[in-house]
Symmetry: none
Subunit: 192 residues, 4 copies
DNA sequence: CATGAATGAGCTTTCATTCAT
DNA sequence: TATGAATGAAAGCTCATTCAT
């Protein structure tokens, strides 16, 4: 039983390399050979940890999505008043989008191109449930407009992706005040 | 004018084929050979109309972007009151996003992946100027919040991309009322 | 319409190269790259003429099989007396096996390994019909033993494959007399 | 003796797995990893028992060939009259070919492709000596035609490979009568 | 002895692009 | 202008074999 063990270090190095290359060169210029080189393993080693390229990307997507959710709902609990709860989650997400630009950019890429399996996509959607619950509560309390959650998402969370984009492209740097104003805009759009 | 009418047909067929394949299979499954087949020309013919694949995509991006702008500012003029003007443009854009899904999806893909030249991207940005001017006017008249245009865009126009997305993936169908509510949310987020 | 035409020369060069390599190195050492090099074309060119490696081998099998049949039944017609007709065909086949060693060896390889599609194999079987008809006639005339055609084949034609084998491996050289004796053995085994 | 009993189990499992895969998928689809999996050992373990893949196949060939000979000459001894002796051996071989189809098929594959070392091939040939001796005796007694042993083999033993083939491919089932007729054909072809 | 991880070399196939007509 | 054939380079992936335990 004393054999060399499949070590997580390599798995993680591979996921990181993939994330990196996908963001900077795009899917079409992230060949397995480059990924392997960046992760400092042999190309063949990738296939010990992942079934094939699609699987590698799916798994990366799911893990980044999970990290995102963990971040989004940190310190959140169901006893918070609706606005407080929403504010917490919103700032958490903003923090992720602005400080984990690599991960956030990758998720945006995945959500806007057909590079992820439909199945993995569905899997990834589940993570948002707590936010949907919060909104429902807010609607019952008549604090939040009685709109489809798709619209609520579109006007409060989705805009943050754009802020990631412009920050990543160095169009402008988001300071504390802008962030505050940004939250205000989000809230104004959905509050009753 | 009207020289090489026949040839333009092929050019357009090629652009259409590219748009189609990029949306449905993604960049990595839109090889020149498939594009040629779908446009019913020889692969070699592509290189008569475009320098190379990158050029083909850049040109497509710019033409779709131009079509988008034309659509966005239809019937708009500088004498309209700010809210009226904004409403007109917003509905124009919504109409484009919801009824020209192919084009809108392609633009989203371009904006979220590194598949477009930095130069073409910059070129594409220029088109929004009239909207920026309108917002500036609104801010002078103290109708619109004094926020960075990036934020105004993020909360009024960018959300429409999400609506395209969910419609395209058949999560829900957007009716007139939802559209109205959606506009209201956009306006609420930026109006003073 | 004045385009470079898919030329049969390359197709044939590819088939020859494949035949050659398969015989001398075996399936597992006849990579597409070697086949291409031997045929003096680019590896990619193979895929203009054949769908994939399996298709290349199937097509080669069928063409060699067809050449074999053409050779086998040269000058044969239904008016010949049974023994004369059989003698003619037998010598034709012997001639093919001993003088087209490459082709004959390849066919033996195909018949004894699972490298040919079941479909192509069935297709290849059809060619023997005239010989089966001749045997049937011989059986009606009570010149040939009333045995299953499989057995008739096993004892008259199949042995020739062994003679190819020993000649190819230089165990002995078949002269006219041996050939005559060989035919006699074949005939003795099936004549009444 | 009887040392390393346990290990021999693995050796045999490996040889069996190889035989199995080679017959059903062919050389090119019998990778070491599959062989290991089928024998329920690690790929690395193969290299404890065999030098490399070629060695594994050579050894398998020689062992199967040895099993074949043992079977072929069971109950045979030099005091038997020539025809009786030949009949015994012939039926022994037929029995092997028809009831040990896996082994027989593998031997045919080896004899018709360049997958066995020339050396192992020569080694394998030695086993037939008793049959050659019998024929020589038969020729002295003027019971058997004075032909090269290659031809005698081609018309009496080699046809049995074809019968294996058609039985394996389910073209027809060989019953006792067909076997008897088959022997008669063999004998007719070489008897004076 | 036995192993699962690891790998460089090499496999089949596809690609963007060019050639020759 | 327009083409189908042709291609070198590179893609994703597998293989026989070795490593480290």
């Amino acid at each position: 039983m004393a054999i060399r063990q499949k070590c997580n270090k390599k798995r993680i190095a591979l996921l990181n390399a993939t994330l990196n290359l996908m963001n900077n060169q795009g899917f079409h210029d992230a060949p397995m050979s480059k990924i392997a080189k960046m992760a400092e393993v042999s190309p063949a080693t990738i296939y010990i940890y992942f079934e094939n390229k699609q699987d590698l990307i799916n798994k990366l997507y799911l893990e980044v999505k999970a990290a995102f959710s963990a971040h989004a709902f940190k310190d959140s609990h169901e006893d918070l008043p609706v606005k407080k709860g929403f504010e917490l989650i919103w700032y958490n997400i903003a923090d992720f989008k602005l400080n984990h630009v690599e991960e956030a950019t990758f998720l945006s890429q995945c959500d806007n191109t057909p590079m992820i399996d439909e199945e993995s996509r569905r899997e990834g959607l589940k993570h948002l449930q707590p936010l949907l619950n919060l909104w429902e509560r807010g609607q019952k309390e008549e604090i939040i407009k009685p709109l489809s959650p798709y619209i609520l998402y579109a006007y409060t969370i989705y805009p943050l992706a754009f802020l990631t984009l412009i920050q990543q492209r160095n169009f402008c740097q988001l300071d504390k005040e802008m962030l505050h104003n940004s939250f205000q805009a989000a809230w104004d759009s959905i509050k009753v």
